[in-house]
Amino acid sequence: MLKAGITGINAVDNPAPGIGVVKGLRTAFSDLQVVGLSYDVTEPGIFLASLIDRVFILPYPSRGKEPFFERLMYVREKTGLNLVIPNLDSELPLFISLEDELRDEGVSLFIPTKAQFELRAKDRLIRLAKRIGISVPETKMVSTEAELTKALDDMGFPVMVKGVFYEAKIAASYVEALKFFREISSRWGFPVIVQEVVEGDELNVVGVGDGEGGHFGLVAMKKLTTTSLGKVWMGVTIRNEALFESVEHFVSETKWRGAFEYEVKAAGSKLYLIEINPRFPAWLYLAVGVGVNLPERVAKAALGEVPSRDWNYEAGKLYVRYTEDFVTDMEVFKRIITRGER
């Protein structure tokens, strides 16, 4: 029986991919127990008993390797956990460093290597883009206000001001850019990334690299509407050969292993690489819905089975996100707070 640990079950206004991953696995495997792995007692997935069988609170990754590993071993003992699909950037370095130990204990993963994870870091993306032959918007790393001023003088406005790990804001003036620089550096540290704003369509690709230069399928989407946080609310599948070529070049050049999201801006026929995320995107269910069940493929690859490589989906399939509310008993909340599990 597949006993899959899934993180990122916070389906909120800035959702993580966990619930989409669970829906994909539920579609593929009938003999499945889903173990939600959560960092916060208010993550909605904790209360979704129809999708998630058991839930355990994990210590924050910042607490280090040992408590994290011990907690996962506890989860394994209680549930027989044999697979984990991590869905959050912040926990990935820890899972990467624990991959061998977890495998020795019977818990499989199919995730990027440390080197791959680091290659696509925001402050190294330009170098990677050069290797794979794709343009990037003009980008400067700044660590002081003087460097920021110089970058703004060179680039003009508007510019994106981005944190080295998370967060991106558009600044239309020097005052705004300085404000974002201070806010973002206090949250995420240095350098802060200042980037030219490229006008164009935002196109995203989700895929799973096989670790040997090939992949287990790609699905591309254009965002049609987004929330105020820039998260997709409606999207449509596309088939764009130039984009696929670029993604396949990235996968073969890096021998990417595991899930990824490749984000570009298309200005006419020219593509600009914006970001590569080392995990599934929150809109991943679109891939499942068009018949390319990538979570199933990650699970099979992790367990040493041979996943399908078919990704012959149709362009023009619409993705629609919606909110739902439900009422549940206080009991689950009490249990998760007092025992850290349900």
Partner: protein
């Protein structure tokens, strides 16, 4: 120069599968697009417009050129290099 591969519905909804962009066209626009998709030349389409609509040749020619220019601006008319 040719029309890019696009999906055109009977009601005039156009979807570009490469970019995900969608558009709507008037019945005259649809008349032209359907013929472009069939591979008819602009001269053939001009003659079809003159047969179908009460319009003088100069106006029809200008409108057809405008429409093709719109397609070009929207990235639906390509130079055939790709």
């Amino acid at each position: 120069m040719k029309l890019k591969k696009i999906a055109v519905s009977e009601e005039g909804f156009i979807f570009d599968p490469e970019t995900g962009n969608s558009f709507t066209v008037s019945s005259t626009g649809l008349f032209i697009l359907e013929r472009l998709k069939k591979g008819m030349s602009l001269d053939e389409i001009l003659r079809a417009l003159l047969d179908e609509f009460e319009v003088d040749e100069e106006t029809a020619r200008k409108d057809l050129a405008d429409f093709v220019q719109q397609l070009r601006l929207l990235g639906l008319w390509e130079d055939g290099k790709r």
